[in-house]
Amino acid sequence: MIKLVNVNLAYNGETVFENFSLEVKKGAKAIILGKSSLGKSSLFFLILGFVTPDRGKVFFDGNLVDEKSVWDIRKKVAYVDQDVSIGDGNVSRWLDFVSHLKANGSVGFEKNKVKDFLDFFELSVNVLGKDVSELSGGERQRLAIIASVLLERKVFILDEVTSSLDKHLRRKVVHYFVERDDWTVVVISHDTVWLNNPRVKVFDLEVGKWRQ
């Protein structure tokens, strides 16, 4: 599903990747471990076409990530970033912005579905009327997760999305993503709940290999 082949990437003169290769198969659940947060985020940016490799190739679902394909690839990937950059302003207005993008069918999220998910991830319906800036880090993370799921995409790349949640909620989130066989899920996290899950494969960025 996601494949990097012999990628070189430098950022501000600093080498991030050198001859780096990685393959994540369809339906796999993978966690990326590594010291350099630049390296981890750059990996996701390469998949989304926010940075381009100096050398080597990046593939998504068999297609080379280039200036043409990248726009379609972004419609197939659900990405949640580390800082949960869901902007500012009213929460339901933000959900409207997400659902009304042309790529997402411009239909809007079904109200009952949104409520079910809020309920499942233990958020009050009241958050919909709040301003994003009023939410706690954990509430923002859960909202971004809900939006990513509502988009009904099959590939998820999640950057530290459980860092502000308590253990109970972390288990719930991990379980939710890991149990879907047809979903390909790649996460950046230090969380042992991801690490210790038997279905999650661990990729060590430092050595560039999967852990056995």
Binding site: N12, F45, L48, G49, F50, V51, T52, E67, K68, V70, W71, R74, K75, V77, Y79, D81, D83, S85, I86, G87, F97, V98, L101, K102, A103, N104, L151
Partner: protein, 266 residues
């Protein structure tokens, strides 16, 4: 009624007024004198030159020369604007020039042909004076608006990239920033319009009244020019964003950092 002329000798007497700021600067050690001298000299020389130039421009009143001069005014405005955006002129000269030209020329033509109904549409007096007012006023709005547009995208780069990751087209991802920057650009103009005539007598009115027209005519011109300024500011900010967008973003939808002056990495 003609405007009372000021003799050269009298004009020289105005410079005596400068004794006040010089005196104050000396007493309180404000350190104003050098800057004051520099600015006064520059202003005087520039205005004398433009006075001579305008005299001949009005005398010849040649369509080609008039249009050429208006283009020079647009070009100067473009350079000044792009410096305000902190962008490299070589990268954005063409799109900003096109945007400013379209927004200025069309509105002036509308005013001269449909509102004022000039017999000679490219009359230097109207073309140059109206052009100057439109450019001068929309310039400030453009600098504020366009600089904020790109600055916000750089500052909120994560939010912007997140919108792209959701599958937004470049237009969709930029729309919130466009809205913000147009609102910001228009704020001063809208505020000054709302207090116009009460707080301050605007320059155009002062000019027309001193020029010998009655206040009724002055007011009509003032209303016309204010509406033209709002229109040209809105149009030029939106057009400049739409046109610079093509050169300031990569085909992947990310902002090109090399467009900007100085190091401005994400």
């Amino acid at each position: 009624m003609e405007t009372v002329n000021i003799s050269i000798f009298s004009l020289a007497l105005t410079f005596l007024l400068l004794a006040v700021p010089i005196f104050l600067s000396l007493i309180f050690d404000i350190g104003l004198i050098k800057a004051l001298f520099n600015s006064v000299v520059r202003m005087s020389i520039q205005l004398i030159l433009i006075g001579v130039f305008l005299k001949y421009l009005f005398l010849w009143n040649n369509t080609l020369v008039n249009l050429l001069w208006l283009s020079v005014m647009v070009l100067v405005a473009v350079f000044s604007a792009v410096r305000g955006f902190s962008m490299k002129i070589s990268k954005v000269l063409v799109p900003v020039f096109l945007s400013f030209s379209i927004a200025t020329f069309i509105i002036i033509l509308y005013l001269n042909v449909i509102i004022i109904r000039l017999d000679y549409v490219f009359d230097a007096r109207y073309l140059v004076v109206l052009g100057g007012m439109l450019l001068g006023n929309s310039l400030r709005g453009n600098i504020v608006g366009i600089a904020a547009f790109y600055k916000n995208i750089k500052k909120d780069s994560k939010k912007f990239l997140y919108a792209l990751s959701l599958g937004a087209s470049l237009h969709e991802a930029l729309l919130p920033y466009l809205r913000q920057s147009v609102q910001l650009a228009l704020k001063p103009t809208l505020a000054s319009m709302a207090t116009m005539g009460i707080v301050a007598l605007p320059g155009m009115m002062t000019g027309v009244i001193l020029g010998g027209a009655n206040p009724e005519v002055a007011i009509k011109y003032q209303i016309m020019i204010m509406i033209a300024i709002v229109t040209s500011t809105t149009a030029s900010v939106v057009l400049t964003i739409l046109m610079t967008m093509r050169v300031c973003f990569t085909k992947y939808g990310t902002l090109k950092t090399e467009i900007f002056v100085g190091n401005s990495s994400f």
